[in-house]
Symmetry: C2
Subunit: 149 residues, 2 copies
């Protein structure tokens, strides 16, 4: 569905949002640790998110990543997906036709139209705040439980 980069980007954004609500900036090390992702790759993804104005970053001592309380409320999942994976997932043809539309539909066009519509609605409606609050309350998780190995 989403690329690895996008999966990490969503998880990172949610984690940063949970910390920002407590007024805490987090460094890339913490982010990668808490969402169980490769640190340098995650840093690259953070650059995309900051360039797109989704996450704010601050260099230097005491710096790190954060999202303002207002931004957390307004940012929708689709903004993160769009910034990293583009719009192919909710716009492209299900079986890869360059030309696929109501007038020139592929064999699965109508079925996929429905699914893409639901996906798009979900991505458009879900805010970072909703997701972050679920993590804060302990209802949702951002990584696998630790096991002894």
């Amino acid at each position: 569905m989403f690329s690895k980069a996008c999966e990490y980007g969503i998880r990172a954004s949610i984690f940063i949002a949970t910390k920002s609500s407590q007024g805490i900036r987090v460094g890339i090390k913490d982010v990668a640790k808490e969402i169980d992702s490769p640190e340098p790759f995650t840093a690259k993804i953070m650059q995309i998110l900051t360039k797109n104005g989704i996450i704010h970053s601050a260099k230097g001592v005491g710096g790190g990543f954060e999202v303002s309380n207002e931004a957390v409320k307004s940012i929708k999942l689709i903004q993160i997906v769009d910034a990293i994976d583009g719009d192919k997932i909710y716009k492209g043809c299900g079986i890869g036709l360059k030309q696929c539309s109501e007038d020139h539909p592929c064999p699965v066009h109508h079925e996929f139209k429905k699914i893409r519509g639901i996906l798009l609605e979900m991505l458009t409606k879900t805010t970072l705040e909703q997701l972050a609050s679920g993590v804060k309350s302990g209802d949702f998780y951002l990584k696998t439980l630790n096991t002894n190995h």
Copy 2:
């Protein structure tokens, strides 16, 4: 959503089904041409489909690919997807958690559960026959219209 391989596999299966209904076997050259895909790569994908019993192949003079009329009716889209891309698309976690379940849900678990359910239902219900008949009737297309260039 699906890999390129899977997109080609679905398109190829549908094209072969339309030809088989007329009692015509098709070679890999025709398949690639009609679905606008790279021939050698498509040949590889055909090997997966034949190994999985979705498409039948015959070597030698007059050989090629075909699907029996009974098979066309019984084969579901999910069999093609499963053979090529596996079950990740309708089973895996939306944001890539290894562990993601009702008891240990990721932040988008419930939203994705719904979407995956609809996708799974669609893949499970849609038969090759449905898709092929739409192409035969001219309602659906398997490639872009030819343009002069």
